[in-house]
Amino acid sequence: MHQAALLGGMIRDATHYGWAIQPVLHDWGTMAEAVQNHVKSLNWGHRVQLQDRKVKYFNVKASFVNEHTVCSVAKDGKETLLSAEHIVIATGGRPRYPTHIEGALEYGITSDDIFWLKESPGKTLVVGASYVALECAGFLTGLGLDTTVMIRSIPLRGFDQQMSSLVTEYMASQGTQFLRGCTPSRVRRLPDGQLQVTWEDLTSGKEDVGTFNTVLWATGRIPETRSLNLEKAGVKINPNSQKILVDAQETTSVPHIYAIGDVAEGRPELTPTAVMAGKLLARRLCGQSSDVMDYDNVPTTVFTPLEYGCVGLSEEEAVARHGEEHVEVYHAYYKPLEFTVAQRDASQCYIKMVCLRKPPQLVLGLHFLGPNAGEVTQGFALGIKCGASYVQLMQTVGIHPTCAEEVAKLRISKRSGLDPTVTGC
């Protein structure tokens, strides 16, 4: 759906590039059907792959009976007991409903629903400031919908805050509205079917009201551990987060029970980490290797309208760990070549490399805000994994003309106070 929104931007760009095209409309139904068909084909693909590899697949809900046995309940209510030597818990998480808010459950939806809506959500309020919230708000705006994001405190908690501000600044410039320092208190359905949301402005203490067609909760996710009867197997969880406690080997408090992915405590909630953790665990269980998952320097990308890719430490974290006097930050505001002809504003296209100050200036973190950030970040993530220093990265010759080459041309340090805007020649 992010891609659908990007295509909307490209259609607008296209006129500048000589394509004569009439004003356009977006049809939600066509997009949703196409996206859903692809997802269904993936579901099918997963089943086929399991079959090919002779993995038995049960479409049942499972819970522990004891430490080697689970009870599975099928849709028709039929119960079966299954036992195994090793058990891996990978139940993931589901969006959290703020049940203390009146009307939240009845009238709100979550990211579990948005991709499956058959009709356009219309004017939408997104509550939350996680990457899920910003990504959803971003593509809804891009598809031409009136979209508002309500944020209680800060956007993208845990990410570099300068980058986060630029992400939301760009979204605002594209028409996403932001209600900062606000928290919803109730949702009601009006006679015409619209949803009336009441919220409190935390700074002024005043109440305010607005009407929307859709309210999307993106205030966090809850690990799916409650219905597993973990206590019957003796698997311990963190009572606050409800996540399963694991060690470096992904082992829970019970030696032959493991947990991977979003359900495990302290793990990044990212697909590729879960995939790799799962693979490595299987290899260890089969005695093929003893490699454990390295959760450091995991790259990720937030697919907001202007994409944000990062790997390693945020500037705040680097300063906290090493002290400001030992950290050097190189940065640049750049303009993607394609933006020029399209007359797009590039005020938020920004790159920042966080390094140790001591030569050869080991790279601690890389932050890239711009088109194709995911593609740009992937290779540099490897460089950082190889222990790249600033000096080595600067010796890399650029690929012209790309956005990624700007990373290899970062010359201005924040400390110098010089203007970090990249100029033409």
Binding site: Q3, Y17, W19, A20, D27, T271, V275, G379, H400
Partner: protein, 613 residues
């Protein structure tokens, strides 16, 4: 792309600890001080007969020399090593005249014979400039600006000789005016055409008939280029670099003649020169080529849509132009004499070509044009092209609106008076041989960019080389331009990015049995919903089995290949291995992540087509 295998190891050798590297730095400063402060500085050995001859020469000229006898000082061996870093010369005597590295005994005697030595000795008769750069392209401007930042008095001469079709342009060279910049923008125009058709699948509704307007596109692109030309001039002015829009040619040592558009001649002298004249498209030398054909010098500012086009040549320029012309809806044919993308990995080149073919570009393989004839004038007109087979007597003829030649480029080195000062060029290619500090055979003349023999023709390389050269010349730096593992991308309709060796070259250098090639096809997520070409995008790495599976070649064919390749190139600089690729977490969902999950080796012969998840 070729690279001597031994070189990297030497460059990245770990050094010998911090204190000794500091001492070395100190020694280097001391030597540079000696070179700077003495009119003639000779590093010699007291017993060396060649050194003795040079000392005699200078004394016969009545010139006072400062001599350092390396066998009489404690750290003579270190001095010799540092000298070889500075000058790329390992032997003694090692002679500097007025800060210019002369060379050894033979070079000094040659310079004496040619009069260069006497001229260098008269250096006090100050030159107009510290540095004159001939050519205002990427490499020349980078070098000039860096030298000016370092406080030197610098001049840039830039003059665009109009193409046979009468096209010329402003400051900035090929990249800005008739290369990277306009071609990437036209490529983007073509990608947007593809995006428009994808967009329907993603729910966007718009008029059925979509047409592309050439004039709108070129005007927008030319406006942007105009702003870059202006930016270049401004940037030179800010740094107090003198810019002269004149054609420069050497008339004698240290002296050039600059001729402007009106034919007025001015003479300038400088202590050092950098040649950065670049290259221009080659013509076929057949009937009608210069009269009727265009090249990439003309295409980007063509005032009318080229219509049905024949592109001659399958260089990256040829394929890129053919690709975007087809992408904006034109009927395009590429005529290929032998292979696509010579010098690039041929498996990748063929895939680039076959994607183009699937998307409407016609290929005429093993044909060369023999005659171009105008049938009708117009904008565009009609041209008849007669071509013959390279394999037999077969001849074909066809009518096109435009014929674009992309058969290669020639260095602009033959008409700049190099023979007057004895700068050697490769007579066949016109390229200039330089040592690894970009110095020509004439000590005070250097060269950067596309005109260098055996180096890469890429903007960022020229920029890097130009900058580092200025720092070595004027700031005592030592860092040399590293031409190894330079990444590049061909912006064909399906982009092809690469870094390091092609599979063919890797096999030639390391032998097939020492290599493991991992590869896979992949399907970008964005293409799935759009229903586009499954099993077309391709990723390949070449690893050296007995060097810890180090990645020596990286190849990717897919959308945004340039953006993907850049970071991997940085990782290759840091010693990328297969294990590190496997240990790195992918960014989901991207194309780049495919490199973190490569499992199938080419030697296994296993199926690499993609099914499901």
């Amino acid at each position: 792309m070729s690279s001597p295998p031994g070189r990297r190891a030497r460059l990245s050798s770990p050094g010998t600890g911090r204190s000794s590297s500091e001492a070395r730095e100190e020694l280097r400063r001391r030597l540079l001080g000696l070179i700077e402060s003495n009119r003639v500085m000779i590093f010699s050995k007291s017993y060396c007969p060649h050194s003795a001859r040079v000392k005699e020469l200078f004394s016969s000229l009545g010139v006072e020399c400062n001599i350092l006898e390396l066998d009489r000082v404690d750290d003579g061996a270190n001095v010799q090593e540092v000298l070889s870093e500075i000058t790329n010369q390992k032997t003694v005597p090692n002679i500097f005249v007025n800060k210019v590295h002369m060379g050894g005994c033979d070079q000094t005697f040659q310079a004496h014979q040619s009069g260069l030595l006497q001229k260098l000795l008269q250096e006090d008769a100050a030159y107009d400039y510290d540095l004159i750069v001939i050519g205002g392209g990427s490499g020349g401007l980078a070098c000039a600006q860096e030298a000016a930042i370092l406080g030197k008095k610098v001049m840039v001469l830039d003059f665009v000789v109009p193409s046979p079709q009468g096209m010329s342009w402003g400051l900035g060279g090929t990249c800005v005016n008739v290369g990277c910049v306009p071609k990437k923008l036209m490529h983007q125009a073509a990608l947007l055409g593809q995006a428009l058709s994808d967009a329907r699948k993603f729910g966007w509704e718009y008029s059925q008939q979509v047409r592309h307007n050439w004039e709108t596109m070129t005007e927008a692109i030319q406006n942007y280029i105009g702003s870059l030309n202006w930016g270049c001039r401004l940037s030179l002015r800010e740094k107090a670099v003198a810019y002269v829009n004149s054609y420069g040619e050497f008339v004698e040592h240290h002296k050039i003649k600059a001729t402007n558009r009106k034919g007025q001649e001015t003479y300038y002298t400088a202590a050092k020169f950098v040649l950065a004249t670049g290259e221009r498209p080659r013509y076929l030398g057949i009937q009608g080529d210069k009269e009727y054909c265009i090249t990439s010098d003309d295409l980007f500012s063509l005032p009318y849509c080229p219509g049905k086009t024949l592109v001659v040549g399958a260089s990256y320029v040829g394929l890129e132009c053919a690709g975007f012309l087809a992408g904006i809806g034109l009927d395009v044919t590429v005529m290929v004499r032998s292979v696509l993308l010579r010098g690039f990995d041929q498996e990748m080149a063929e895939k680039v070509g076959s994607y183009m073919e699937q998307h409407g570009v016609k290929f005429l393989r093993k044909f060369v044009p023999v005659m171009v004839q105008q049938l009708e004038k117009g904008s565009p007109g009609k041209l008849k092209v007669v071509a013959k087979s390279t394999e037999g007597p077969e001849a074909i003829e066809e009518v096109y609106n435009t014929v674009l030649l992309a058969i290669g480029r020639d260095s602009c080195t033959r008409k700049i008076g190099l023979e007057k000062i004895g700068v050697k060029i490769n007579e066949k290619s016109g390229k200039i041989p330089v040592n690894d500090v970009e110095q020509t055979n004439v000590p005070y003349v250097y060269a950067v960019g596309d005109i260098l023999e055996g180096k890469l023709e890429l903007t960022p390389v020229a920029i890097q080389a130009g900058k580092l050269l200025a720092r070595r010349l004027f700031a005592g730096h030592l860092e040399k331009c590293d031409y190894v593992n330079v990444p590049t991308t061909v912006f064909a309709p399906l982009e092809y990015g690469c870094c390091g060796l092609s599979e063919e070259k890797a096999i030639e250098v390391y032998k097939k049995e020492n290599l493991e090639v991992y590869h896979t096809l992949f399907w970008p997520l964005e293409w799935t919903v759009a229903g586009r070409d499954n099993n077309t995008c391709y990723a390949k790495i070449i690893c050296h089995k007995f060097n810890n599976y180090r990645v020596i070649g990286f190849h990717v064919l897919g959308p945004n290949a340039g953006e993907i390749t850049q970071g991997f190139a940085a990782a290759m600089k840091c010693g990328l291995t297969k294990q590190l690729l496997d240990d790195t977490i992918g960014i989901h969902p991207t194309c780049g992540e495919v490199f973190t999950t490569l499992e199938i080796t080419k030697s296994s012969g296993l199926d690499i087509t993609q099914k499901g998840c």
